[in-house]
């Protein structure tokens, strides 16, 4: 892992096209601003990892039998 120190309002550039800037420092919380092309996804790491893990668990091979959901009451169409 590359470790760099930045002060408030300083930035780093990744791959010449992704900019990460320190926009606010509030005690232990650092607010980062990220500028990246549309095809680059940016997520908080822990959220990315838990969704990735959930997706992997959810991937289905073949067609298992599905649980039955209780029949819904008809909704009021107003």
């Amino acid at each position: 892992m590359l470790i760099l120190s930045r002060k408030l309002n300083e930035s780093i550039v990744i791959d010449g096209r992704i900019i990460v800037k320190v926009v606010r420092v509030d005690g232990e919380v650092v607010k980062l601003g990220i500028q990246a092309p549309m095809e680059v996804t940016v997520h908080r790491q822990e959220v990315y990892e838990e969704i990735q893990k959930n997706n992997k668990e959810a991937l289905t091979r073949g067609r298992p039998s599905l649980p039955k959901l209780p029949r819904q009451l008809p909704t009021n169409k107003s």
């Binding site: 997520h43 838990e50 990735q52 997706n55 959810a58 599905l66």
Partner: protein, 143 residues
């Protein structure tokens, strides 16, 4: 296996305009970019987000609003722009279901799949209000 043959038959005959394109794939499955939504009336309200190129792989999905009537996913502006959504009604929302065991299933409310209903371009979005919802929300199944 008859089930696999049925799926293959559906995939072979799928029309280009019904292919769901996910340019960024799903989280952890970024290289899979083409899907088709398959449904079986007996399995309502579940749908299969079927991998176009592999008849054996699919994700079980559900439209969340019947199950969680007050689900209000807040789609970040970058994702609205990415998907070309001009108004809320342009968006189709599906959430991935995990089968945990007989009669046990959960649905991911933090990271729905959002589709532009006109272009069928989709993305798995981490909603801005993800903290308000569960990654594994229990589905009310009949025991």
């Amino acid at each position: 296996m008859k089930v696999a043959d049925d799926i293959k038959a559906k995939l072979v005959s799928v029309k280009t305009e019904n292919i769901i394109r996910m340019p960024l794939g799903l989280l952890g499955f970024e290289s899979i970019k083409q899907y088709v939504m398959l449904s079986n009336p007996e399995e309502h309200p579940f749908l299969w987000l079927q991998v176009l190129e592999d008849p054996n792989l699919a994700f079980l999905v559900i439209s969340p609003f019947e199950i969680v009537p007050d689900y209000r996913p807040d789609i970040p502006n970058e994702d609205v722009e990415f998907l070309g959504l001009k108004e809320p009604s342009d968006a189709l929302i599906y959430n991935i279901v995990t089968l945990k065991g007989p009669g046990l299933a959960t649905v991911n409310l933090k990271g729905p799949i959002v589709l532009n209903r006109n272009t069928l371009i989709g993305k798995q979005v981490v909603i801005a209000n993800a903290a308000d919802y569960a990654l594994q929300h229990s589905l009310p199944t009949c025991k």
